[in-house]
Amino acid sequence: MKNLISITPKLAGLSALTAFSLAAVPAFAADTMDKGDTGFMMLSTILVLFMILPGLALFYGGLVRSKNMLSVLMQTTMITAIVIVIWVTYGYSFAFGGSESPYWGGFGKLFLKGVTADSTAATFTDGVVIPEYVFIAFQMTFAAITPALIIGAFAERVKFSAIMAFVILWVTFVYFPIAHMVWDANGLIFKMGALDFAGGTVVHINAGIAALIGSIMIGKRIGFGRDMMAPHSMTLTLVGAAMLWVGWFGFNAGSNLEANGAATLAMINTFTATAGAIIAWSLIESVLRGQASMLGAASGMIAGLVAITPAAGSVGPMGAILLGALGSAGCYFFVSVVKNKFGYDDSLDVFGIHGIGGIIGAIGTGIFTSPLLGGTGGMDYSIAGQTTTQIMAVLITIAWCGIGSVVLFKLVDVIFGLRASEQDERQGLDLSSHGEAAYHS
């Protein structure tokens, strides 16, 4: 009975609403949420987590010596956990908290204040929204993978507690502000009109620059250039690289925020650019040293994925092949020539691949987005104009990240000491930092 009584006024209210809304269709259409989009974003979010664990962890783990395998897996795992907790407590607010500052998001959404299951986040289509929780979670995985990328540069010699402290500071003062600058509608770089579809500057250039600085400030591994430091498991490295490729579809297509045609463009570009990059790296190796190596193919794969990241939503599939190949060539030159010439020990080539690949990708986005080259830029698209904007965005990122990283590495070094003791380093970080061994013979 009660129910029946209560239904009647509701129905009456509904018909009144319908009559009212006929006159106000645009206002109501402004809040369309699609279950397909939501499901797609949930899946994309999980795919990006899969990139970190186990993808990146195994990719990096295979590249170090067996005595340091667990240290890399552990650093990657712990960084992911720490950044997730930071992200929901204040990171999301600092990046997307709604402040009008061009540099950071403010305190508006500390502890996810005000966010409920009904909150929504805008997409690239006017009037189409997704649940805010999935946007928060998706962005959270990006915040987690970026510092996890950095650790490859000083693998095998860093002190565990110190690097965790560094990561907490670095995401706070470098990552969150740059994410705000690039992706928030009020952000400095966003307002310049720079294109960064899935985080070429925020994730890859950012991680690459911090990595280069870290590798120089922490110093070379003991025995660098003298001892055998070859990867201990190329098998795991390829397994990890392939998982990164699979996860990257969440990273790139998911950055479209909607499951529509533009997301499929990002998807096919994530195939073609990577394929072009693998072929390019292997061809270069075949010509220059007579043999194409497995590690080369895996490196080309990552270089291509990094290069296409900022461009995934705006270049065409053919342009993507070229951009991937260019990224590969640039990264090859850096890891095999420049690094050896300068003699810094970027152990797993984080700068050489993510930094350089990210820069080539960001600038290449300006070029290959042109409709003349199969991109999606409008008829009035200016390659010179957009490329200049892209370069400005890269320079701002390098400057912010560079200065921030130098200060934070120094600070952590003074307080904790960044480097493991000589004895610990020689013994291997698995035993000395974590009290366990990856392999037992």
Partner: protein
């Protein structure tokens, strides 16, 4: 009795084993070892960084044989392990004082 110890290329093990089985050799012991000889090592390149690998993986096989069989056995190993390339390995022979089969307590040539 003699011990015949040979250092060979790992991929030659099956051929050596077959050759020895054909001779009637009843057993051998194989160990994975690393070392260098005149072949020295080689270099491996990882993303442009060269590493000198100075100890190469080889297999060490050890066979206890009656003194009369030594020549046949060493010839069989030489023939089977030969690739005519540097790094094929070496064979060493030395005297064996005693052999005992644990299960039965047999000694000497009977135990081989």
């Amino acid at each position: 009795m003699k011990i015949v110890m040979a250092i060979i290329k790992p991929f030659k093990l099956d051929e050596v084993r077959n050759a020895l089985t054909d001779l009637g050799v009843q057993g051998l012991t194989v160990t994975e070892v690393k070392g260098y000889g005149r072949q020295k090592g080689h270099t491996e390149i990882y993303r442009g960084t060269e590493y000198a690998v100075s100890f190469l993986p080889k297999l060490k096989i050890e066979i206890a044989v009656a003194a009369d069989d030594v020549e046949k056995v060493t010839e069989a190993i030489s023939a089977a392990a030969n690739t005519s390339q540097i790094g094929d390995g070496k064979i060493f022979v030395w005297d064996l004082e005693q052999a005992i089969r644990i299960r039965t307590g047999e000694t000497g040539v009977e135990a081989l």
